[in-house]
Symmetry: C5
Subunit: 255 residues, 5 copies
């Protein structure tokens, strides 16, 4: 009953998935002036935060009752993330929203793949391509796609399916095979993987971007038949969103 070797990890931008419901009753009842102020301050908040130097902010219309808005923040520090969250409460748009859910995590790269193993090896020669790859994982830019799918997940620790009790080599192979599926969707689906052990209720947040939602559906279906998911994955709730530009906030609120 030995301790298993954990993967090396590197952390980059902190991530907040801020999921909010619109208080449509309040919105319908609001006077023209209050609506205008809410839209103006909302657009300003979203544009200012999208224009920050380090990190990014984007907004999505969420389908179904679980939320109406997903505001996705990436920031270099937890302190900046905390501020981004609280600043929203100071703007007039906040009056018309309630917090439905959220997820806090940090963009993560782990040393399971061979390439990544080199990255974590102090004796390996510097590899600019690898460096760029790692940087794209740790400091991702939000891709300009129409749809997003977000869900938190953990790895199981059950007697027969215990990810954390597998030898490193086995986990490495599982991760490699899992990554192969993802690569088949290159150009169609982009992902941000962010870790949250000790930070939020699951162990990772997964954010997938695509212009065709069925590409995400098919990618995740293929993955579900892969042991990495079929045996070891435990999923939280799934949120589906459609991106809109801050300037479209008025149209979004008009229904």
């Amino acid at each position: 009953m030995d301790r298993r070797e954990p993967p090396r990890t590197e952390e980059g931008l902190y991530v907040l998935h801020d999921l909010r419901r619109v208080d449509w009753d309040a919105w319908r009842d609001a006077g023209e002036r209050d609506r205008e102020a809410a839209i103006e301050e909302g657009v300003e908040y979203l544009e200012t935060h999208a224009d920050i130097e380090q990190g990014d902010t984007a907004v999505f219309s969420v389908l179904g009752h679980k939320a109406d808005l997903l505001i996705l923040h990436l920031r270099p520090t937890l302190e900046a993330l905390d501020r981004a969250e609280r600043e929203f409460e100071g703007c007039a748009l906040a009056e018309f929203t309630d917090r439905a859910s959220s997820y806090v995590s940090v963009a993560e790269a782990s040393g399971y793949t061979e390439a990544a193993a080199d990255y974590f090896d102090p004796d390996a020669e510097a590899d600019p391509g690898l460096q760029r790859y790692m940087d794209s994982r740790l400091h991702p830019e939000l891709p300009d796609t129409e749809f997003v799918s977000f869900y938190p997940m953990s790895k199981r620790r059950d007697p027969e399916y215990n990810w954390y009790d597998l030898p490193f080599e086995e986990r490495r192979e599982l991760m490699a095979a899992h990554g192969d599926i993802g690569r088949e969707y290159a150009g169609k689906v982009t992902q941000i993987i962010s870790g949250s052990i000790g930070i939020d209720d699951h162990e990772w947040g997964v954010t997938l971007f695509a212009d065709d939602m069925t590409d995400i559906k098919r990618l995740l279906t293929e993955m579900r038949f892969d042991p990495s998911s079929s045996r070891y994955a435990e999923f939280g709730r799934f949120y589906t969103g459609r991106r809109f530009a801050p300037s479209q906030l008025e149209a979004f609120l008009a229904g």
Copy 2:
């Protein structure tokens, strides 16, 4: 520990099950004029959406406390579905409803059956009958029955009952046997199967239509004794509704 072969799938109309509670306190307190406006705008919303060119919309009275209304939308794009959902909030009826639950999915046909396998085989000859069948699954029309039963479901991934770890052939046989039960209820129960992996919390939405609710009860009871359900199914909540025409909205609200 190999990856299992996923089924081919084709996706059609996007589906939103929009479950709402009536705020009966507000309704009782509302003045005649407000009620009239709510009914008028509600009827207009429901009729306009039922009359769209692509897709359909229907409304049901839901039994029990979980919801009062089920508004069921089918649309060719997620964008149109998103709009249908938000447009409701703009009509005066919305003032008297709260969102109780929802489900987002997309009508799906999968290549488990032999017939369907042909459909996905680029070398197979075109079969107009098969084409019509697939089209009826991907672009279903809402049948004109009195009752509906909706529930989301997933397949289990437990050590002993792991759907995603079964060989394709075994899943194919299970699906075929499961389909046989459904066929015994042809003419009595109609179904819409919509997939939601990566889109909502379960893996599928199942919507059953019948003029006699006990037909649905018996169909699902038979299915529960079939390994496909007895070993592999994980059910969400069940919603039972009774369809009414948009023009009956006033009668519905009158109690």
Copy 3:
């Protein structure tokens, strides 16, 4: 991995357990006239519904915070059940209640017992006693006892305890033994068994009536040691109520 033989079932009256909380704050704040109207309309609603030709309605004071009132409706159609539920919202008493929970099901008799098997056998001779027994299960009258215990339940589908994977004969024996326990409480505890597969979240609703609550407690304790429950039962929440006559509504609300 074969499909198991399901029992034959017959369905009778539809059942709604409508569980409501009293909004005591509103009640305390209400003026005398509003209270009187609420009591008057509440009594009228309850008496009218108890007097319907087909089916029955009764009201119970529920102990604990989960609910204050259980209004139990039996009706020949889902449509009548739906109407009974909505009509309550039209009466002034509704203003002082919130919906806490509910359960929708349909009185059911199944062909597990030998007697019942005869009932479902088209070649068997008509047996008036059996017919009366089946009728009492399908169209039960609410017994006039002081206490009620209601809970929904399902049968397990776990690898080692999978009810739906047992051969019919084994289930038949288990049901027979389970029924034997019930018969020991004849005259003390009366039951209504209603099925809800495809209708509500569990598979059955169980409603037990007795003049001494410890009889129900002892009956269920004995049953829990019987394999039918100890291995195969999955219970929902339990609600305990005390019946009162519609005319006692004022006393109930007075505390």
Copy 4:
């Protein structure tokens, strides 16, 4: 697959754990006169109910957000318990509280121990000591300690840990060993065991009284290492309270 022998049980006083939150916002906003009325009626309610002839009532300040007040009622009938609960809603203090949770059960003695077996044996000679012991379990008096710990619990019915599938003799031994731990804390920790099969969501309520909360913590820690708990116990939520005299209600509300 036989039915196991259930223990004989005897039932005594019915028990209601009524857990309430104080609406501190309303309390802060209340005028002096309203506060005085609430305190006066609250004290009167608590004192009157503590002074009833049969049974008892006590009040505790509950730590943490799950509740602020635990009002613990013991009554000879469910009807009296129901009335005690509803009467509270009639007093002005209720305006400043919301119902957070509750538990309904009945003080219980079971025939697992040899002594108890005698009690249930109609041929055994009357034993005044045993009679007093049983009476103290069935009609317990609330001990005058500072702290209380309340939690509901059930016994597991899992394939490997199935309490209800154990032979009587094995359960008897487990119960005896469990009781031995409790006896080591005699004079430090007092308990009320109340059964709730068919009455509320778990199978028992456990109420522990002590002047030093760490005695309860140590007792339960020891018990957790005993098979009766380590293999067979399923716990609900735990509530920790500090008793105060009705006359201290004003001090309690003053913070």
Copy 5:
């Protein structure tokens, strides 16, 4: 099936994690005077409680929707903890907060390690170093770091992973190995372990302090691969906070 030997434990300061949401709508709507009063009384509450003679109080800004504020209290008695909680409700800041969650526990040292075993051995010579160590665990001072991670946890009692069914010696070894990981993070991560068996819903509260949140993430990741966690740990929700001085309350509320 014997009872396992429990560890000796010693208890010190009682701990309350008081998690609150800010009612931002109320805050935005509040007049300048009300805000000033809330800030003034809030700062005074926090400073007074941080200055108490025995124990400590600190405040953190919590990320995400689960809470906005964590007020962490350590007190020598449950009575003082209860008072600290209720006193907050008396200050004007409370008007702008709702209770989101909480956890009640008591700082604990257990006799698993050899050093600790000496501490509990009445015949061992007094060891001032050990005494200081034990005292630091039982009467911890809140370290002055920027970040905190709090989560409650329990040990599993499943058939294959049953912590409470392991021999003492095995648990001792698991705890020692687990402690070794923690020691690698000495100087980076500080912890408070508090027990809650019989007091709150889990068995322990774990509070970790660090200036770099990724240190906590890495520590817990390493631990997750250790049998103590991979097989025996059951985690509750995780809360991530950023400490601020009471005097920064105004800045915190300004967004």
